[in-house]
Amino acid sequence: MTAIIALSLFGISNLFWGFWFPRKVLQILTLLFIAVGIGLTAMDWNHELLWFGNMFRTTNTSINFSLIIQLAAFLVVALSRGFGADDEHTHPAEYYAILLFSVVGAILMVSFDHMIMLFVGLEILSVAMYVLTGSDKRNLKSNEAALKYFLMGAFATGILLFGITLVYGATRSFYVSNLANIIAATAPESMPSFLYIGVLLMVVGLLFKVSAAPFHFWTPDVYEGAPTIFTMFMSTVVKTAGFAALYHILSGVFGGIYSTWVLTIYFISMLTLIIGNVTAAYQVSVKRMLAYSSISHAGYMLMTVSAMQKSSTSTVLYYSLSYTLATVAAFAVLIIVSEYQTGRKEKPEDYSSFEGLAKNNPGLAFCFTISLLSLAGIPLTAGFWGKFFIFSDSFNRNIIYPVILAILMSAVGIYYYFRGIITMYFKDGDIEKIEIPTLFKIALWFCTIGTLALGVYPNLVKSLF
């Protein structure tokens, strides 16, 4: 809990450091701040406590989620050289500060015990993201993306709030722990029917944030328009926080009325899998492909949520971690390659920019390969076990057909992920050796080795979850 106070203070202090320090120092400072945040979060381990008028609860699950989120933020800051090269126009201090604030929002979203906390956390996170999306001020696409994200996001938050209100109306409580008891104690017939509408609206609001179909239409455009480093942040931190919140609500609050919402979640997860995977296969831009792939992974995660097993918590955690590591690495390589190709190619984010990357940059190509393999769920990588846990959760609930569909869609996934690998290794191109800063290299290899280590020995973290 102290982590959110510390991170907020650090964020504010960052605004002032910006007067004196150059970007490099700020980056190191921010890394330090997040490291402190990680340490403070970890100190709460095994202390289940309530804070802020019982509105905020730290459990081991919420701590795990917070750690994953801060790890992702840490990696993003370490990789953040894409913006702020031109200090005058990009205001690095502000961006690092906003990044820290959004992490605070994300932590609130994973540890709330009161619906208002969920709403506040979501808003802190979202408003920060709207700003970061539009941070490339002179790029028309970035502006468009920010506006689009803001309009759609505000709408979704409104729906969530509406849902919270209806649920409150039906149960007269905002507290997660109370709500579950009230729902369990009341006979389903005597429950006002607008409770279910409320649940549905809340779910819709959160599904929007995790970009599940059919609420995904903003995703590709926003992901493409935002500076890549913030796309990386969006697809890891926001998604993890969104799923944690969704899972917390559905399992912690509405687990008692499982049968009323499960079909909806099923349907949405199937739709998300199909739309995400099939559309990703048609993309020519790697960035858009990763956007659709992030949609498809939302589909896999929703499968676990709908299976709602004892092991589901650990599955969601494991999947979030493996997905985060792989996505960060993939976007990191994309940043390097597209920066190199800017000016050389018309569209630096297309597959064609990766042609022949493996020849002079075997390290980069290897990192990208491992991250794509992990996203595709091939053995030896973390993604394989993620899929394994998801499928076994679903089978435990006797869900057969969705799993078969998910299998078919994984095969589609292999098609487009391997396209990237083929382009790097087997197409001819003339990419010279690209110089990579040390910090960047460390973060990139951390993700790659982490993905491999979790793939070979998942117990490394599985025992914690």
Partner: protein, 483 residues
């Protein structure tokens, strides 16, 4: 501990070759393969002495009951034996070519070996799946980096096809695994036997389909074979040898190790269909092989035909069928690698595999002709060659199962002779063609690879009992389960 060594040793050397890229890649990888073969030989010797399987068990993911457990019994023993026996020849066949000291090439071959050893040794079903899938990556990179014409599209098709199949195996395994008793379940293959056998006939039927699709694509069985001729043709020779000599045995091994003991009722429902498909493959592959113009493609189809017979034999679930299948896997591996090597030798010298352009090689290289004929006769299953023993036992088991199937499958002997003898005639005999006039004699390295392989063909035909005895115990354990 020995098992761990033989599993990871090639991986380590392979990784070293890939990362450090030493200049002397050929020597390193060849000696690694030989050390591996000797180490495996010692393990096999130990098993053969006591006929007790060697196991190694270590916790891997205890929360979900998955273990890192290895087991070498008679069945695994034959396959790891095959794998390690052939690897020195596969690596040796690169001698004096530009691939010999290509560190990446050699490294990928060794990694491939490690993955295949893992699949053959795994005692845990997910460990098996893990290696089953992982073996695809090195062979994919090998084939699409060093392959021939149109490699990118063909190898991609191969990759998608096989992964697609194994995904079904994956969900099938999860399905059975979740039904094992205990809070954490167990993925031990023997625990899965017990659980799967108690499932209803209907579930077993579906599971049989899921498992069989995966293995049928790997082998391949008609009608899942469409990736195979192209991939075999386009891969570099060593890739083709790995694919046909060892990797397809992962499919047949999977059937023996998993399908037969796990789903007796499932085989009851679908077994006939699967055998019919296999036999269709035998006949269909042979007929197409007869019409091929490209020697490598001809061998690809012949391999397809042979594996169909293996599959049909073992799906009869009889003791003879499984024994014959194991024996034939061994002989097919040896023969096919020798034959592909001969084609590679011809191609190196003449730059052609077109049957119409070749001929008369016997006049310039007598040794090559002799070796080629011995290997081909092994493939035709002439008595006194290893192929005869395998095919004879297989055909006997199919006859016992059903007279009609036996008769139809028996045609393979005639058809096999037709395409193999045609291959010999078009390449070795006849008039010397424009490109074979300058055909040089075999080099020492080539002889060192081909002559031992030819000797294995004869030894396998004359002394089959050593091998058959070796696997007897394990096979009878599996057939005991069926009673």
């Amino acid at each position: 501990m020995n098992l761990v060594f033989i599993l990871f040793f090639p991986l380590l050397i392979g990784a070293y070759l890939l990362i450090a890229k030493p200049k002397q890649a050929f020597i390193i990888s060849l000696s690694a393969a030989i050390i591996e073969a000797v180490a495996t030989g010692l393990v096999l010797y130990k098993i053969n002495e006591s006929l007790v399987p060697i196991t190694f068990i270590q916790n891997w993911i205890p929360e979900v009951g998955i273990q890192f457990s290895l087991k070498a019994d008679g069945i695994s023993g034959i396959l790891i034996g095959l794998c390690t026996l052939l690897l020195p020849f596969i690596i040796g066949s690169t001698a004096k070519t530009e691939k010999a000291n290509h560190a990446q090439y050699q490294g990928l071959i060794l990694m491939m070996q490690s993955a295949m050893m893992g699949a053959f040794l795994a005692k845990d079903a997910f460990l098996f799946y893990f290696f089953f899938e992982a073996s695809l990556l090195p062979i994919y990179f090998l084939a699409s980096k060093f392959g021939g014409e149109n490699k990118s599209a063909i190898t991609f098709k191969f990759l998608l096809y096989t992964i697609f199949g194994s995904l079904f195996l994956f969900i099938g395994l999860i399905f059975v695994y979740l039904r094992t008793p205990g809070a954490t379940h167990s993925a031990d293959i023997e625990a899965l036997y017990l659980t799967a056998r108690n499932l209803s006939a209907e579930s077993q039927g579906y599971l049989f389909i899921a498992f069989f699709i995966a293995f049928a694509i790997k082998m391949p069985i008609f009608p899942f074979h469409t990736w195979q001729p192209d991939t075999y043709t386009t891969s570099p020779s060593q890739g083709t040898m790995l694919l046909s000599g060892i990797m397809l045995k992962m499919g047949t091994y999977g059937v023996i190790r998993l399908i037969i003991p796990m789903f007796p009722l499932g085989i009851g429902i679908w077994g006939n269909t699967a055998i019919i498909l296999s036999i269709i493959g035998v006949i269909y592959g042979s007929i197409i092989a007869i019409q091929q113009k490209d020697a490598k493609r001809l061998l690809a189809y012949s391999s397809f035909a042979h594996v169909g017979l293996i599959s049909a034999g073992m799906l009869t679930q009889s003791f003879e069928g499984i024994q014959g299948a194991l024996y034939q896997m061994l002989s097919h591996g040896i023969n096919v690698i020798g034959l592909f090597f001969v084609i590679e030798i011809i191609e190196r010298r003449t730059k052609s595999r077109e049957l119409a352009q070749l001929g008369g090689i016997t006049q310039s290289s007598y040794a090559l002709t002799v070796c080629f004929i011995i290997l081909s006769l092994g493939s035709v299953a002439l008595p006194l060659t290893n192929g005869f023993i395998g095919e004879f036992i297989l055909l006997k088991s199919i006859f016992d199962y059903s007279m009609i199937f036996g008769i139809v499958a028996g045609i393979t002997i005639i058809l096999g002779a037709v395409y193999t003898l045609r291959l010999i005639q078009k390449t070795m005999f006849g008039n010397v063609s424009r490109i074979t006039t300058e055909f040089s004699k075999l080099t020492l390295e080539e002889k060192m690879a081909l002559i031992p392989l030819s000797i294995f063909v004869l030894l396998g035909g004359i002394f089959p009992n050593a091998i058959l005895h070796f696997s007897e115990e394990s096979v009878s354990q599996i057939t005991q389960l069926l009673k």
